[in-house]
């Protein structure tokens, strides 16, 4: 039997219809405004020709995409290495045992020092400095040292994110775990870290999205990845469209990555807590 909708349900349905209408209207207005206004700007034609040349876009996109695979590869091995070393540094910073005091100091100096220097300088310092010191052909691969530089720099940022997560877990959780006889390490492993890591996933993703873009900095050392490929196209074609193509490629990875994280977090939150406040 069909049930008569309640007063509340009727009201909610009306509200829903209204909000959809309002959203549609405002989106259309904004879109129309952009479509109509931007072409009227004085430099529109020049800019469109320089940045959005369809022919050049189609011609260069394939090689750019192949070069972008290089970025993805560098990202693929840097990200796990950064997460692991970042966690190790965070654990060293939050260690409470007096025997680990030197480690705690070293980790603090590391995070403070590394974060104070721009990433691109680390790329130059490590990418040119270390092979220069070693003077060995087998160990002069720029991708190796470029990746190392990224790992060195990003570990410090990620370590601080993990540390914030670890310190956000309330002391009473440690007390409960220790009162059950869990050791300090077991408490960290089974009680503190699982909660800490969940809490810092959004800022962590933020850092990973940054990393995904900063991978292009490795090109300063020579490897031809998407950004450098776009640069060489720009020089030979005297047009900026390849940069737009490269930007699209980077967006293709970072946007789904962010959406996926949001989705996972929301599912987790729904699973663990009773009701969401609307």
């Amino acid at each position: 039997m069909q049930q008569e909708p309640t007063r509340r349900q009727r009201w909610e349905r009306r509200q829903r219809r209204r909000s959809i209408a309002v959203a549609a209207l405002s989106s259309t207005t904004a879109l129309v405004a952009v479509v109509l206004a931007v072409p009227r700007l004085p430099g529109y034609r020049k800019v469109r020709a320089a940045f959005f040349d369809g022919e050049i876009f189609v011609d260069t996109f394939g090689p750019l995409a192949r070069a972008f695979l290089y970025d993805l590869q560098i990202f693929a091995w840097c990200a796990p290495a950064i997460l692991m070393s970042g966690m190790a540094i965070a654990l060293a910073r939050t260690a409470r045992s007096p025997a680990l005091f030197p480690l705690r100091v070293a980790a603090t100096v590391y995070t403070d020092g590394v974060r104070g220097v721009p990433v691109v300088l680390w790329i130059y310092l490590i990418g040119f400095g270390v092979p220069g010191l070693l003077q060995s052909r087998t160990w002069s691969n720029p991708v190796l040292w470029g990746s190392t530089a990224l790992i060195v720099a990003y570990s410090a940022y990620v370590a601080e994110v993990f540390r914030a997560g670890i310190e956000s877990v309330h002391e009473s959780q440690r007390a409960a775990a220790r009162s059950l006889g869990l050791s300090n390490t077991q408490t960290l492993r089974h009680v503190v870290l699982p909660q800490a890591v969940r809490r810092v996933i959004p800022p962590l993703m933020n850092d990973l999205v940054s990393l995904q873009k900063d991978v292009a900095l490795v090109s300063f050392l020579g490897p031809v990845e998407a950004l450098r490929r776009a640069q060489s196209f720009k020089s030979s074609l005297a047009n900026f469209t390849p940069y737009v193509g490269a930007a699209l490629l980077f967006l293709c990875v970072s946007v789904p990555l962010t959406r996926l994280t949001d989705h996972l977090l929301q599912r987790e939150r729904r699973r663990m807590s009773a009701t969401a406040i609307r």
Binding site: S172, Q173, A175, A176, A177, R178, S179, L180, G181, L182, S183, Q186, H190, V191, P194, Q195, R198, R271, M272, S273, A274
Partner: protein, 248 residues
């Protein structure tokens, strides 16, 4: 199991919280600590579980001085269970895993066995249908019963209960106190810090009135509630009666 405290002292900075506590708790005894907030009840329980280091004094568990500085605390904590005012369940683990975690990790019980035993404990307290839920989905009373089950899963010789009903809605207090009655029946040795005076009178073998970090007066509940000797005890009980927490 025999617990013996002598001259237990503890300060936080310049504030003296425990000022020479002597206490004996025998096998199967139920001892209630009463007194106003800040009188040292919680700190005393935390000291017994070595969550707070003592400044001075002796805590003997079966003749072993567990307050000896430098003694590894984990094997001792295994023998002493603790339940907290704010439950302190692990929010990232299901109810079942909250109970099974310590047996698995500390005692090395295989996961399957630990889960079966945890489920039996939960069933004993009427929580079997909650086993798969996360703590956030449980009411306060259910959470506190899970916390008691979690402490019992380690089969402690002594259970410390730190104002376990203070964070609960009045209608949920009963279900938690029923669990404590059940434990008393089964012969569990317990020390409770509590503001539930009627319950303290009903359940304890001995009641200790703490005031400014000392046990000012202690005795069987009939004596302490019926004929308090000390003026401060009388004043405290009168305040409690005025607040409607104890019948005359």
């Amino acid at each position: 199991m025999k617990l013996r405290l002598r001259g237990v002292r503890k300060s936080f900075g310049s504030k003296v919280v425990l000022d020479g506590i002597d206490l004996d708790v025998g096998e199967g005894a139920v001892v209630c600590l009463i007194g106003s907030s800040g009188s040292g009840k919680s700190t005393l329980l935390r000291c017994i579980n070595l969550l707070e280091p003592l400044d001075d004094g002796v805590i003997e568990l079966d003749g072993l001085d567990i307050a000896e500085p430098g003694l590894p605390p984990d094997p001792i904590r295994r023998r002493i269970g603790m339940v907290f005012q704010s439950f302190n369940l692990f929010p990232h683990l299901s109810v079942l895993d909250n109970v099974a975690l310590a047996p698995r990790k500390v005692l090395g019980v295989p996961t399957a066995v630990a889960r079966v035993e945890a489920l039996e404990l939960l069933a004993r307290f009427g929580l079997a249908d909650k086993a798969g839920d996360f703590p956030d989905r449980c009411s306060g009373g259910q959470q506190q019963r899970v916390a008691i089950a979690r402490a019992l899963a380690m089969q402690p010789e002594l259970l410390l209960l730190d104002e376990i009903t203070s964070a609960l809605d009045p209608e949920l207090v009963g279900e938690v106190l029923d669990v404590v009655r059940d434990l008393r029946q089964s012969g569990m040795t317990m020390i409770l810090a509590t503001h539930e005076m009627a319950f303290a009178r009903e359940i304890s073998d001995r009641v200790c009135f703490l005031d400014a970090g000392r046990i000012l007066e202690s005795g069987p509940p009939q004596q302490l509630f019926g004929a308090p000797q000390h003026d401060r005890t009388k004043a405290f009980l009168l305040r409690v009666i005025d607040a409607g927490r104890l019948e005359r």
